[in-house]
Structure formats: C-alpha cells, structure tokens
Amino acid sequence: MGNFFQLLVNEQLKLYIRKSTWIMYILIALLVLGLAFINHNAMENSRTYEASQDDNWRQTLQDENAEMQKEMEQKEMMQGAYTGQIEKNNYYLENDIQPRSYDTWQFVMENKFLLSLVSLLTIIIAAGIVANEFKWGTIKLLLIRPITRTKILASKYVSVLLFALLTLLFVLIFSWIVGALFFGVNGLNPHIVLNQSDGYAYVSIIGEIIEGYGLQLITLVMMATFAFMISTIFRQSALAIGLAIFLMLSGNAIVGFFSHYDWAKYILFANTNMNQYINGSPMFDGMSLGFSIAVLAVYYVVFLVISWVFFTKRDIAGH
C-alpha cells in the first residue's frame, strides 16, 4: 500500500504543477467573486426587513405582504408574481420565526450550481490523466516500473476523484469566505424557510447544502468515470472531453427522446437525478431509489472494468 500513496503523490503533483490546473481554480474564484458582487448589488435595493432586527420584524413582514398584495391587484402583469413570497412570509409569521437576513450560508447554498463547473473541470482532468501520458510519450517510462498496471490505473482514477473533492471543497470554502465578507455570517447552523416538495418548511441550511451538492456529485462521478474510460480506450483527451460534456449537457434530452420506450429507464441519465425520489415523482413507472442505485452501480462498474481491460491488456506500441 505504501507505494500506492507514492503513486498518488506523483499524480497529484503532475496535476498541480501545471498552470492549466491553476487557471481552473482562478476561474472558479473569479466566478464566485462575480456572483457575490452581483448579489450584493441586487440586495441593496430589496432589503426591507434587514434593519429591523428587533420585535417589529412581524410588522415588517406584514407590511411587505400588504404591499405585494396591492401591487398584484393593481397591475395586470404582476398577477401571482409574489404569491410564493407571501406564502413564505406567512410561514414565518404563523410559526413565529424571525427571518434571517441573507448571509454566507445562503450564498454557499445558492452556489450549488457551480458544481456543474466542477464536473466540467473534473471531466477535463479525467480525460487527460491517462491520455496525456500517451501524448507526452511518458507512458513508456511510467509502465516499466515494478508496479502493476492495475495499481497505476487505480492511482490515476483515485487522483481524479481527489481532484473533484479538492475542487468541491475549494468551491465550498471559497464561497463561504467570500460570502462572509460580502454578507456576514448568521450563526453556525442557521435555518431557513424553503419551498420543499410538501410545502414550506423550516430547514437547516447546512443540510440543504449537503443535499444540494451531494446529489450533483452523482452526475459528476459518473461523467468523470465515463471520460476516464473513453480516454483509456482512445488514448486521446479531446474525444473524451467532447463526448462526456456532450452527454452531460444532452442527458435529459436523450432520456426525453427515448421516453416512450420501455427501456428508457435504464439510460444512465434517467437515474442520475435523485431529486425525482425526494420530490416523489420518478421519471418512469417502476423506478425506485433502489432501482436507480442499482442501474448507476452497473454503469459505474462497467465503465471501470472497460478502462481496466484496455489499460492493462493492451500493448504500448509506437505512435
């Protein structure tokens, strides 16, 4: 096991020594800063109960509701535009919960869509980690060591997951820090009223963050593994990146296109979205959480086995 750790060190070094990897992180950082800036500016105008920290928050909420009600009645265009907000405010009032002002926890929660960027970057890394060794020609020197090819491949795959994890942590921590600077911190485990599948509920933001990011990790891992497989088969990264990103973007469309077939539920992308079980509305009849997990597991194992077969069994011939 000792030398597996050394292999991981090697793979991580090869990733983080390169400038292109750092550019990815800089991109994420700029995006987070930009989002914070836009949010901050938008917030300036709409913080109605922000100043009212004390007991008159109830009054503020009621005033806000009345105002929105009036606006909806007056203007044809605004019909129903605020019903959600009013409902939310009523939930606060009914349950006697003082609303929290927008803070870094909510900022982090909203940034969960950044995970698709993390997926994209992970796909790029996964597509290159084997293919680049062939491109550079270093694969020959890499494989003539007293280490089995299986172990070398495993170290590369684990490195991809490690990259995804580190990048995810970077998004979380950096968002939190930037959010804290822009919007402040409201306690260590703040709660918020959110629209859930069964109406409004008072939930922990941290729980929401874990759920929001966690569910997207499924797609991330599946597509990264897919890109890893394509890259070990064809030994070039461009194809792997292209295919994986194309499938990731068009996954839902593919499922939609075949949706009238019975076998559509076995398509990978019909199963990557676990929200369908949380909302209680599966995409196809006969699908359950267990079914999706089984389908995902089969795809995952197939991807890995194909990668392994191609990497360990094939000759390393000339260019």
């Binding site: 060190v9 090697n10 090869k14 020197l141 007293p146 390393i316």
Partner: protein
C-alpha cells in the same frame, strides 16, 4: 550465481497475422555491452518493448536474472532500467522533479542516489530547469539518469546515440563502458548504425526481419582481422597505382584521385615505404571498412540497410 543477466527464449510477436518477431533466442551476460543492430523496421524496438513488458509476448519468454517477465513481472522488471525510443520526460517538470517522480515508483531510491546519477550524467547545472527546455542530448542524459536510479542489473537503451553530437556519443560510450566494467551491469544498446556503437560493445547481435541472423564477438572479429581495406591519398595517383602493381602485385583502383585497395595489415608499412622510395607524395592513409561492417553488410544485403 549465474552469469546470465537476461535471457530471451524463442520470443515471438505476432500482430494481426503478421509475424513481427519470429523466435528470438539469445542471452546477455553480466558486465557485457550487447549491441542490438538491425535496419529500421527489423524489430529492434518491438523486441525491446517486449523485454520491458510494454508489449505482451505472443510466444516464448524473457527472463531477467531468472525471473520471467510473463509470470513474475515485478521481480523481473525491478532489475531493468530502460529508455524506449525517445527519452520523453514531463516537459512541465524540472529534470530533478522528473527524476523524483520515477524515484517514487521504485523501492529504495535515496536522495543521495538521485544526486549521484545527476552527477554521473553531468546534468548538475540544468537539473533545476524545465525538461521541456532541454535539448535532445540533455533529455537523452536525463533518460539514462532515470534508468540508472534503482541500480538495475540490466540497462536497456534504445538508440541512445540518436540526436547526439560526436562529443555526446563519446561521453555516453564512456559511461556505458564504466557501468559494465565497474558495476557489472549488462547493457543492451540498439542502433541501426553499427559504426556508432561498435566501439562500445563486447558483442553484437544482428536482427533482420524479426530474426537474429548473427551474433558476433567484437574483440574476436577485430583480432582475426588480417585483410583490411585502405584508401590512400597520393600524388601522382596513377603512377602510384602502377608502382603498387609492379612492386607488390596489388591491384589498386583509382577513385576520385584516391587509391583504394585491399591488403594484409602487415603490408601497409611496406607499401608506404615503397611509394616513398619512388618519390610519391602521400597525404593520408585510411582504413575504410572494418571487417565487422563488411560482414554485416554481406548478411543484411547492402540494398536494405537504412
């Protein structure tokens, strides 16, 4: 302890239905430099790739210190250091980082050892620069350094003189000899140019169309040398040819104002003496082809050599 470092036993490689290697058998002894010669496309690189496990064997076996590359890969490859084709390095890492990278993949390579090989190949100065900026010669040296890190018993160098200037070739020749003589390493060097590696090899194997067609002991070949081809720059050249014919019965041909002839080694001083006596101006006398090269030319057929 056996003296055999590496042994190939009826090694075969078939790709599709083409026989690339058709049953190679030979062995390399410890402390020996073995030249692996053949025209381009003869199967040198394929054989080397099989020796180091980059390609699977279609038949036969390769044994390194008795360990089979087929059944005991790790023990076998542990004793091998190699460059296969070009010495490709990670261009974005420094020379040192490249060496550290490979050092981590092998047991018991100390920092001191890394420093030692850097000094051995004379890369102390540029070792902190990115390998992408290295010249081919520097990469070649870094490749050799990388292959020596773990003190292998067998060193395999595929075309190590490729892209090197004559000074570089001489240097490589020097430390390959040193490795073989002082560290008892078995060295296998492939090349398509006999002249480049002839001087550093103890034995030379000639491969053609995937078959070993001759193995020749270099010292034995030069020892039994009696008949040498020489070229002589002399003036007037036609008169010189005539004198040689009359005095020694040698038929010399005149090519480009030079005399070309075949004589016994011992007669060279006599010929020169005679010509000097006849007031012929001699500018230079050169031996043209070694017998080894002649021999290999005959075996390969001159028209096929790359």
């Amino acid at each position: 302890m056996t003296k055999t470092a590496m042994e190939l036993i009826d090694v075969k490689k078939t790709i599709g239905n083409k026989d690339i290697i058709r049953g190679l058998s030979f062995e390399i002894r410890k402390g020996e430099v073995f030249g692996f010669i053949g025209p381009n496309g003869a199967g040198k690189t394929t054989t080397i790739r099989m020796m180091v496990g980059l390609m699977g064997l279609s038949g036969g076996d390769v044994r390194i210190l008795g360990n089979s590359i087929n059944s005991d890969y790790k023990s076998a490859i542990r004793e091998v250091g190699a460059i296969v084709e070009n010495p490709e390095m990670y261009p974005f890492m420094t020379g040192k980082q490249n060496l550290m990278h490979y050092a981590r993949m092998m047991p018991r390579v100390t920092k001191e050892r890394i420093q030692e090989v850097i000094e051995l190949v004379g890369l102390e100065k540029p070792i902190k620069e990115k390998a992408g900026k290295y010249s081919l010669g520097m990469r070649q040296r870094l490749g050799i350094a990388q292959a020596l890190l773990h003190k292998p018993s067998v060193l395999i160098l595929d075309e190590p003189t490729n892209g090197l200037d004559p000074a570089g070739i001489r240097e490589i020749r020097r430390y390959i000899r040193k490795l073989a003589e002082e560290e008892n390493v078995a060295v296998i060097i492939s090349s398509h140019l006999l002249s480049e590696i002839e001087q550093m090899c103890d034995r030379i194997g000639l491969i053609k169309n995937g078959e070993m067609i001759a193995i020749q002991d270099v010292n034995a070949a030069t020892a039994e040398t009696t008949d040498v081809g020489i070229e002589m720059e002399a003036a007037p050249v036609n008169q010189a040819a005539e004198i040689l014919h009359n005095e020694h019965g040698i038929n010399a041909t005149v090519v480009n104002d030079r005399l070309s002839l075949h004589v016994e080694r011992e007669t060279i001083p006599k010929i020169v003496q005679t010509l000097v006596n006849y007031d012929i101006q001699i500018y230079q006398v050169v031996t043209t082809k070694s017998t080894l090269e002649d021999k290999f030319f005959d075996l390969i057929g001159e028209n096929t050599i790359g």
